[in-house]
């Protein structure tokens, strides 16, 4: 395996991990609190849009 190919694969793994961290940050810190706030306000449809797993 050439050095350059190794580098591309390694950087691809780093990019994937970075994306995953961003997604989980969005879910935990933005979508979940926002959907809970909307649920409390009774705007269930909006809450479902922000966080599809939130239940009434």
């Amino acid at each position: 395996m050439s050095d350059q190919l190794q580098e591309w694969i390694a950087l691809g793994i780093v990019a994937l991990v970075f994306l995953k961290i961003l997604c989980s940050f969005f879910k935990k810190e933005i979508a979940k609190p926002l959907s809970q706030f909307l649920l409390k306000k009774g705007k269930v449809k909006w809450a479902m849009k922000v966080h599809p797993f939130s239940k009434k």
Binding site: M1, Q6, E7, V14, V17, I21
Partner: protein
């Protein structure tokens, strides 16, 4: 067929969660002290007729007048106060069958809410052992409610309970009895019912009370508690030696195999220096964490933890803390997050806040890998007295320092920003019980699963990112210094070096401290990655352990200063997030972050100054 919602309610520590676990197959935490469940939990099950049931486990409450936030959660569901909470169709009232004198009054109180009720007499095995008998059929007639006997921990009576739920008459009309509104009338009614349904209890002193004469003695009890803690920390080091070595050997073989199999290059460096070295450096502490939790779970299951809370009340009361703060603080030894949530059992808001603020000072399991790494590297394992060795003693000292600093900080808070009178401690002391081996194994399995999940998610992700920041940009040939010094992480470490140099830390410690703010144990994997990348161009055949690398690079003062830093430093985002949730404001988590960082910096700085002055450094 629509889903049936069934809620379990009852006094704290009557075995609701054990029953919940038996019925749903869940693994919610159970322990032999009141206040383990502080928020409602849901699980699913099916009846034999195919009816789907949503089972809700509510926190324990002594009445429908909540005294603390956890009781508030239960009462909100019972009284249908929150409009977004779906009302249960049936309430199953779980009673400790050995304590009907106290808990039957709660059933009578619940009859006032005009909801379908079903009574479970839990812990029926203890009734038999205590030498009295309960006539469940007569009790059913006197209460006018279906009654089932059960032993939640052994899954006994669960089938009968499911049958009762299946055949429950939901069409029945529930009318309140006016006289039950007066507590005195309820107690009179309980006396009347028990005289008909329960045989006389033996008047001899129970076993638990006999044992408590010694274990709750102000002097002998405290000596016993200290001995127990000392044994635990000695065991954490001694019992873990062999399994830790096996894991180390496995990681070494894995690392060498990948190095031989893959040609040298960035991908090999990411896998070996980043993933295997980084995650492996944390995973080797799994045996120590499991040994610590084995003892914690054992003490919780026997009922000794509530005694420890009682013994500590004198110390807690001395600094103005509520005795109930002991259980949340004790939970914080595992992790500050459940500890902070467990403060819901404290009624007074100021006492609750004080407990939340000091919870991160208790030594959580995430600190254990850092402590164990530095102690193993810098403290000799010399015998001190009998089987007690220096490494175990230093570990005990670090845990003790956490407790002492928490008490000191609580004293300051209670005298200043959170001043208020100290309420008396009302704590239910559960009977001593033999621990259930199944629960013990499940508890240990859950702990191992959580730790390995963290290693495979947060720690692995941060290690991969740290590898990138420590490897890029690549150092040109004509630039002096090592490649890591030239990298983003190296530059970041160098930029904060002037700030941390007074604490005895260099830029490499600085690199590891930054990701360590996400979770404490990431510090260990970060150090492993940083040192692995720094030495990657050296002889790859020589496998050097992280502790040996640190020993050759750091002074004893640096290691001790880092240990002191870790007693105080608020290196855990999740703790700050849960503090925000529990206090419903950003003010307190920000205050927590600032005061803990300040304390960590001050303590490490003073230590290094003293060490320099005494000529150690």
């Amino acid at each position: 067929m629509s889903e049936l919602r069934v809620a379990l309610t009852g006094f704290p520590n009557c075995g609701k969660t054990s029953l919940f676990n038996s019925l749903t197959g869940s693994r919610q935490k159970v322990a032999n002290y009141p206040g383990v469940t502080v928020e409602k939990k849901e699980g699913d099950l099916h009846l034999s007729n195919g009816q789907q049931v949503k089972l809700i486990d509510l926190p324990g409450t002594y009445s429908l007048r909540p005294q603390s936030p956890d009781e508030q959660v239960a009462c909100d569901v019972l009284l249908g106060r929150k409009d977004w909470t779906e009302q249960p169709d049936l309430f199953v009232v779980v009673l400790d069958a050995t304590q009907l004198e106290r808990s039957l009054s709660y059933v009578l109180e619940l009859k006032q809410i005009e909801k379908p009720l079903l009574v479970v007499l839990n812990m029926m095995d203890l009734v038999e052992k205590s030498g009295f008998d309960i006539d469940a059929v007569k009790l059913e007639k006197e209460l006018g409610l279906p009654v089932v006997g059960a032993i939640g921990t052994r899954k006994k009576g669960t089938l009968a309970l499911l049958e009762k739920i299946e055949n429950f008459n939901f069409e029945r009309e529930w009318k309140p009895i006016a006289s039950y509104q007066d507590p005195q009338n309820r107690f009179k009614e309980v006396e009347r019912i028990l005289s008909l349904c329960q045989t006389e209890k033996k008047q001899e002193v129970p076993f638990s009370q006999k044992v408590d004469h010694i274990l709750l003695h102000p002097f002998f009890g405290t000596v016993f508690l200290s001995l127990v803690l000392l044994i635990v920390f000695q065991a954490v080091f001694h019992w873990s030696e062999a399994p830790t070595e096996w894991i180390e050997q496995f990681i070494g073989i894995l690392s060498q195999t990948v190095s031989r199999w893959m040609p040298q290059g960035p991908l090999q460096s990411l896998i070996v220096n980043g993933m295997i070295e980084g995650v492996g450096a944390t995973v080797v502490f799994l045996p120590q964490i499991l040994i610590l939790f084995f003892f914690v779970l054992l003490l919780e299951a026997t009922g000794y933890m509530a005694r420890a809370a009682f013994l500590m009340d004198r110390l807690m009361g001395g600094v103005g803390l509520h005795g109930r703060a002991f259980i949340p603080l004790l939970s914080s030894f595992a992790c500050a997050i459940p500890g902070i949530m467990a403060t819901r059992t404290i009624e007074n808001k100021r006492d609750r806040l004080a407990t939340i603020l000091i919870a991160p000072l208790m030594t959580c399991s995430a600190r254990l890998p850092v402590y164990a790494l530095l102690i193993a590297a810098f403290i000799p394992n010399d015998p001190v007295w009998g089987p007690i060795r220096l490494q175990g003693l230093v570990m005990f000292g670090l845990y003790f320092a956490g407790v002492v600093s928490a008490v000191a900080v609580a004293f300051v808070f209670k005298k200043t920003i959170l001043s208020g009178a100290k309420p008396p401690l009302l704590l239910e002391l559960p009977d001593y019980k033999w621990p259930d081996p199944k629960n013990l194994i499940i508890g240990l399995y859950e702990r191992a699963r959580l730790f390995l999940k963290r290693a495979g998610t947060i720690i692995l992700s941060l290690t991969v990112l740290l590898w990138f920041f420590s490897s890029y940009p690549k150092k040109p040939e004509n630039v002096p210094g090592t490649s890591i010094e030239y990298s983003y992480a190296g530059r970041m470490g160098k930029s904060i070096e002037p700030l941390i140099q007074p604490l005895g830390f260099d830029w490499k410690v600085g690199i590891a401290l930054i990701p360590g703010f996400a979770a404490r144990e990431v510090m260990v994997s970060s150090l492993a990655t940083v040192y692995a990348i720094e030495t990657e161009h050296q002889d790859a055949e020589i496998e050097v352990e992280l502790s040996d690398r640190l020993k050759s690079d750091w002074s004893l003062v640096t290691a001790l200063s880092l240990l002191i830093w870790y007693i105080f430093a608020p290196q855990c985002f999740s703790t700050l997030a849960v503090t925000r949730r529990e206090t419903n404001s950003w003010r307190w988590p920000i205050f927590m972050l600032i005061y803990l960082l300040g304390l960590a910096y001050l303590a490490s700085y003073l230590f290094v100054r003293c060490a320099t002055w005494m000529g150690w450094a």
